[in-house]
């Protein structure tokens, strides 16, 4: 392969570094109205009266919007395929607010200062309601977060707002209780995972205007332009055909921009005033009023024989969806569906639980969603089980984990919000990943610990993980390829580059299939008027689903080129040899450049343009083994991550540098979740750490060494053998680091993040026991 499985610079990186205007805010009309939101200071309250007269009277204020300006049209901001497996429990503006930062009113003014001043002039009399701030007390609490009658579920997802339940689920294979009774060794442990903020560098931004045809044109920093178009039409009752959504460059998403953010308010301002408008979230709004990872309480019971054969897994999860139920069920299900099949040889497995409403910031999609929480609980408890068994944790995994050509009953039972699809693991190099990772971290020399000078101890730990590649029977992606004169192509794709490099890798797939070079494929993506449909950038779908669509389109284009070449040369298609540049048949030949110029200007004139769609019928999982070496200071509990080894099976990495970037970026976000990051609230439900000074994402000083390798693997159903790679990297750090800390100092951390305080408390408690 000449273009695929190479290191190639991204198609956009140079222009972005050189500062070319490319992001949503860069493209806003310079005279646009500034839209700002008055946000609730209370976690739970009802607006008794709202007086906007003073704000409206302020010079420069164009419009003030309250709940009275909106029809009550329930919708979900989840940004999923339709019908969504998320409850329709949100109104654009509502008389009730349900978390600190929820939208109470909205102003549009000529500039920032006027908008800010107007917000201060809005007078609200609140009826302050009792909030629910402890998710363990939410279920069947007399306080109801969603008493409103209009809300509903699209299909059964366990939605029961009278119990503060956004979603619920239960599944069982075999009989877990019976299996556990037969097990000689059992572990029963409860884990807690925290809310994590996406913290993309570009804040949520949207701008809107009417174009010369009086159509609503929206530029937005989104992962899901087609879903945004649909939801604007649904929620505002505005004709879909009059909406055009364009996704410019996006400054990072990580799931956070899968959701609707300011689009509905900014669109409303433009529709009502006819004027261009924009909203740029402040960093505080990004933290308080966008979305975050679902905090979970996870109870795991594992049972094994004394020979180390895992027999049963029982997993109960309570998940906190916050004020609204975006992704409530799907994140919850992924905690099982993308973790439990790792141990496919068990007799029985049960997975069940509840997703509850609270008066916290809404939880939603976040890279690795569900999987990272489930992985922390399962992979930590596997190590605990190994200790009870007196068995090496790598040997145990090698004995019990899923291997090539195997399956798990869970694939058929659990999908994302629906039933799943039975799959055999036609590509699975997990066994290699474990063996290779063990070598790279030098496990045998370091496991479980090495005493160091100055009261430090070195420990190593590991975890295995899997993800999916799109959502089968739901996700569709499409691609259009157009041949231009001079023999270059346009690749038009609905797929959504949010910085992960999908424009680049999809162009690589096209170039490889067309037999051309990357510079001859001009990519344009994510414009609902000009590009074909794609669900967008989520669920690790782009490389596999959109990539397959691009591959199909490219092969179709090749076929059309051959037909035209045969006509031009006066030969049969079967007699042609074509390498993407030169067309030969016996002694006759022409170049693609000649042919394309002929088609435009001289003979048999026509435009060659093809469109193909891909609809996934399975979701081949990428796999990885993560190994970490940590140094722990036994006097302070401080933890230093020395090296993080990732060995990944993502099938063929389409771009070796960008695939590595996905893994390493995921690893460091996972390290953030494992060690540094935690959304903290006051007792009154207000966020404490709502900026980068107080919410600590990893900086370059915390990252010592990342060792990343890919297993040789080929997924036949993927484009050039590829599976997904966007999320898998984030899954292992919490469990691997927790296991390494335990191996170093004998302290088992079950509540994330793994802070020096918790480690030291554990060290002191262990000393006290002795």
């Amino acid at each position: 392969m000449k273009v695929v499985k190479q290191v190639l610079p991204s198609v956009d990186g140079k222009g972005l570094m050189m500062g070319r205007p490319a992001y949503t805010d860069d493209l806003a009309d310079p005279n646009c109205l500034i839209v700002k939101v008055l946000r609730s200071p209370h976690p739970h309250a009802k607006i008794v009266t709202i007086d906007t007269s003073k704000a409206e009277a302020l010079e420069g204020v164009e419009l003030v919007l309250t709940y009275k300006d909106f029809e009550r049209r329930p919708h979900t901001r989840a940004g999923q395929g339709y019908p969504e497996p998320s409850p329709y429990d949100k109104f654009v503006l509502d008389q009730w607010v349900r978390y600190v930062g929820d939208e109470a009113a909205c102003v549009a003014a000529v500039d920032d200062a006027t908008a800010d001043a107007a917000l201060k002039l809005i007078e609200i009399e609140w009826d302050i309601l009792e909030p629910i701030l402890d998710f363990e007390k939410a279920l069947d609490n007399p306080v109801l977060i969603h008493p409103e009658p209009e809300i509903f579920e699209n299909f059964p997802i366990g939605f029961d707002p009278k119990r503060n339940l956004a979603a619920g689920y239960h599944m069982e294979v075999g009989n877990v209780e019976d299996s556990l009774k037969d097990c000689e060794v059992v572990v029963d442990e409860t884990f807690f995972t925290q809310a994590q903020a996406h913290a993309a560098m570009e804040p949520h931004t949207v701008n809107a205007k009417f174009d010369y045809q009086n159509r609503l044109m929206i530029y937005t920093s989104t992962q899901t332009p087609f879903h945004v178009r649909r939801i604007i039409s649904q929620a505002l009752n505005f004709p879909l055909s009059r909406i055009r959504v364009i996704k410019p460059r996006v400054g990072g998403g990580f799931g956070g921009k899968q959701h609707i953010h300011g689009e509905l308010l900014v669109s409303t301002v433009t529709i009502k005033t006819g004027k261009p408008a924009k909203m740029v979230y402040t960093r505080k709004e990004v933290f308080e009023s966008s979305f975050q990872r679902h905090p979970m309480k996870i109870n795991i019971k594992l049972g094994a024989t004394k020979e180390g054969v895992l027999k049963a897994i029982d997993c109960y999860i309570l998940s906190d969806t916050g004020a609204y139920g975006e992704h409530a069920l799907t994140v919850f299900m992924v905690a099982g569906a993308k973790v439990l099949p790792l141990y496919n040889k068990v007799d029985s497995v049960r997975f069940y639980g509840d997703v509850v409403y609270t008066n916290h910031t809404s939880a939603g999609a976040y890279r690795g969603y569900g999987a990272i929480q489930g992985n922390f609980a399962v992979e930590s408890s596997i190590d605990m089980l190994c200790e009870k068994l007196g068995m090496d944790p790598i040997e145990f995994r090698q004995k019990n984990m899923i291997l090539k050509d195997e399956t798990s009953p869970i694939f058929a039972i659990m999908g994302e919000g629906t039933e799943g699809i039975a799959m055999n693991m036609e590509s699975c190099e997990l066994a290699y990943c474990v063996t290779r990772g063990k070598e790279l971290i030098n496990w045998d020399k370091k496991y479980p610990r090495v005493e160091l000078p100055d009261s430090k101890v070195k420990g190593v730990g590991m975890a295995i993980a899997m993800q999916g590649s799109g959502i089968p029977y739901i996700d569709m992606g499409a691609a259009t390829i157009k041949l231009n004169d001079d023999g270059f192509y346009n690749l038009l794709i609905g797929a959504t580059d949010i910085g992960q490099g999908s424009d680049t890798i999809l162009a690589q797939i096209a170039a490889e299939a067309l037999g051309t070079t990357l510079d001859k494929v001009i990519v344009y993506s994510s414009d609902t008027d000009l590009t074909p449909f794609d669900v967008g950038a989520y669920a690790s779908s782009t490389t596999y689903v959109s990539g397959n669509a691009v591959y199909k389109a490219a092969m179709k284009m090749r076929g059309e080129i051959l037909v035209e070449a045969a006509l031009a040369l006066g030969v049969n298609v079967e007699d042609i040899e074509y390498d993407g540049v030169l067309i030969k048949a016996g002694d006759k030949e022409m170049t693609l450049v000649d042919l394309s110029n002929r088609l435009y200007y001289s003979e048999d004139q026509k435009q060659l343009m093809v469109t193909s769609s891909y609809f996934g019928t399975k979701s081949p999982p990428p796999f990885m083994a993560g190994f970490v070496e940590v140094d722990v200071d036994t006097e302070t509990g401080e933890l230093e991550i020395i090296d993080y080894v990732s060995v990944v099976d993502c099938g063929t990495p389409i771009n070796l540098a960008l695939a590595k970037g996905q893994v390493e970026g995921g690893i460091v976000q996972g390290i953030g979740m494992a060690v540094y990051e935690e959304v903290i609230y006051t007792k009154k439900g207000k966020k404490v750490n709502n900026d980068f000074l107080n919410y600590h994402i990893p900086t370059r000083r915390e990252i010592n060494k990342l060792t990343t390798e890919f297993a040789e693997s080929y997924e036949k159903s993927g484009p050039f053998g590829a599976k997904s790679v966007g999320e898998i990297g984030i899954d292992t750090p919490p469990a691997a680091i927790a296991n390494a800390v335990y191996n170093a100092v004998g302290v088992r951390i079950t509540t994330l993040p793994i802070t020096p305080e918790k480690i030291l408390a554990g060290i002191l408690a262990n000393k006290a026991k002795k």
Binding site: M17, G19, M201, I498, A657, Q669, F692
Partner: protein
């Protein structure tokens, strides 16, 4: 009020409000390479050079630039072009929102210390956050750029 300054080598006079911050002034004046990621000097995407030293434009009052020189990435296009080749080789440019500011900081580092240690590079660039890459690829790209590999 009026403020006179040198931007990317050109004399400019801007009419501003006394409380305007440099980031907002620059974006209003169409220097769109300077990004807004936060408003309290904590993310680094608004990095510009102030008399050659990297500062966060979100936290400097425009009034304070009177008589000074400000450089945005538009003023170091050749350096950014070259640095981006090294980033491309390492897959170190994902979303690109932090890279113009990073290019300016790297340029300033090169002027100050042409042969920094790994620790010095990290120290110098700590204030330039990146949520996409995990930093190592950037670090390798920056080191290769500085060593002119």
């Amino acid at each position: 009020m009026k403020v006179n300054l040198l931007i990317n080598g050109q004399k400019k006079t801007f009419l501003i409000e006394a409380g305007d911050y440099l980031l907002d002034t620059l974006r209003k004046q169409n220097y769109l390479s300077v990004k807004k990621g936060c408003d309290n000097s904590s993310c680094g995407v608004c990095t510009v050079l102030f008399d050659g030293k990297p500062i966060k434009a979100c936290s400097l009052l425009t009034a304070k630039t009177e008589g000074h020189e400000v450089t945005t990435v538009e003023g170091i296009q050749d350096e950014a072009d070259k640095l981006s080749d090294y980033f491309g080789q390492e897959g170190a440019d994902q979303c690109g929102f932090c890279t113009p500011g990073m290019a300016l900081a790297v340029h300033a580092l090169k002027v100050e210390n042409s042969n920094p240690t790994d620790e010095e590079i990290k120290e110098y660039l700590t204030g330039n956050l990146c949520r996409c890459t995990g930093y190592q690829s950037q670090h390798i790209a920056i080191r290769n750029y500085l060593e002119d590999k």
